[in-house]
Symmetry: C2
Subunit: 200 residues, 2 copies
C-alpha cells in the first residue's frame, strides 16, 4: 500500500489533471489511469465528478492556507511577505507558462460552465485577497488595503495570463520586476498615498 489513501490519491491526481487539462476535459478514464484503478470503481470513493471537484477545491484551499502560513512564519515584515506573493510567479513560472494560473483558470472555466462549484472556487481567490489586504493593513493602509490587495492580485493574474498566451518567460519576469518596483515605491512614500493611493 502507498502512503496516501486511494481517496487522497484520486484527489491529488485530479488536482493536477484539472490544472493541466481543465475540469471538463478531464474524464474519469484519465484519472483512473493516473491512479491505476478501474473506471467504474470511482463511486465507491466519490458519488459524482462534482464531488471530486469539491474535494480538489478543498485541497487547494488547504494548500493555499499552508502557503500563506509559511510566508508569515518565514517573513516577519509585511513588505517581505507581499514580496513572497509576487515571487510565487517566478517559482511556478514553468507551470504558469504552460497552464496559466491554477486559481484563475479554474475560476474562468467554472464561470463559463456556470458550474455550481464556481462560488466555492472563487474562495481560492478570496483567500489571497484577504491575506494581502491584511498585509497592507499592517503597513498602515487601512482605508485602501482592499484596493491595494486587488490591484496586486489583478496584476499577478494579468502577468500569468500573458505569459501563458505568449509563452515568453521574459514577460513574466518583467512584470514581476515591475510589481516589486511598485511595492518598493509604495512603501517608500506611504504618506503620499493615504488620501488617494497613487498606484500608477
Amino acid at each position: 500500500m502507498s502512503e496516501l489513501s486511494k481517496k487522497q490519491q484520486i484527489v491529488s491526481a485530479s488536482d493536477l489533471l484539472f490544472y493541466n487539462q481543465g475540469y471538463a476535459a478531464t474524464s474519469f478514464a484519465d484519472i483512473a489511469e493516473a491512479v491505476q484503478i478501474s473506471r467504474g470503481n470511482f463511486y465507491y470513493h466519490f458519488k459524482s465528478k462534482d464531488s471530486i471537484l469539491d474535494a480538489v477545491i478543498s485541497l487547494r484551499l488547504a494548500n493555499s492556507h499552508k502557503l500563506l502560513r509559511d510566508w508569515e512564519s518565514h517573513s516577519p515584515a509585511a513588505t517581505e511577505r507581499i514580496g513572497c506573493f509576487i515571487n510565487r510567479l517566478l517559482v511556478k513560472q514553468t507551470d504558469i507558462i504552460r497552464y496559466g494560473c491554477p486559481v484563475a483558470t479554474l475560476n474562468t472555466e467554472l464561470a463559463k460552465l456556470n458550474h455550481p462549484a464556481k462560488t466555492t472556487a472563487s474562495m481560492l481567490s478570496t483567500v489571497f485577497r484577504t491575506w494581502l489586504r491584511r498585509q497592507f493593513c499592517l503597513l498602515g493602509e487601512k482605508s485602501s488595503a482592499d484596493l491595494l490587495a486587488m490591484h496586486l492580485l489583478s496584476r499577478s493574474q494579468g502577468a500569468a495570463t500573458i505569459a501563458n498566451t505568449f509563452g515568453e518567460q521574459k514577460l513574466l519576469q518583467q512584470e514581476v520586476q515591475l510589481m516589486h518596483d511598485w511595492l518598493y515605491t509604495y512603501i517608500k512614500f506611504p504618506a503620499e498615498n493615504t488620501a488617494t493611493p497613487s498606484l500608477a
Copy 2:
C-alpha cells in the same frame, strides 16, 4: 433568407457560444439550435469542429482590426487611442464580468487542450500587442515600447480576470481608473522613463 449567409450565421453564433460557454463545452447541437439547422448538416459548410474554430478566430481577427482602425480614425493622438483600449473594459464590462476576456479565455482554454489552433488564437493577442507598441512608439518610446505595450495588456487582462472571478463591477472600474492614471503619469513625465521606464 436572412442577410447573412448560413455559413456566416454559423460562424457568428459559434463566436458567441465559444465565448459564453467555452469551445469544448459548445456542441454541434448547441450551434445547430442557435442557427436553426439540423445537426448532421454541418459538414456541408465545415468539414470539422476545428474548422469552425478557425473561422471564428478569423472573424475575431477581422473584428479586432476593424476596432483598432476605428480608434485610429476617431483619435488622432496616440494617448487618446491607448485610452480607448483601456476603456474597452468598461464598454464590455457586463460581458467581461460574466464571461471574462474573450481573447484570454480562448487562449487559456486552447493551451490546456493543447489544441492545434492555439498558435493562431494567440495572434489575437499579438494584434493588440503590436498595435499598442506602435502607439507607444508614436509617443517617442521606441526602446521600451514593447515592454509598455505588454504591461498594459497584462494589466487589462488581470482586471478582466478578477472582475470575472469576483463579479464586482467596482473592481473593474477601479483598475481602469488606475490604468488611466498610469498612462497620464507616464505621458506627463516621459523624460524620466526613457532610461528605465518607471511603470510602477
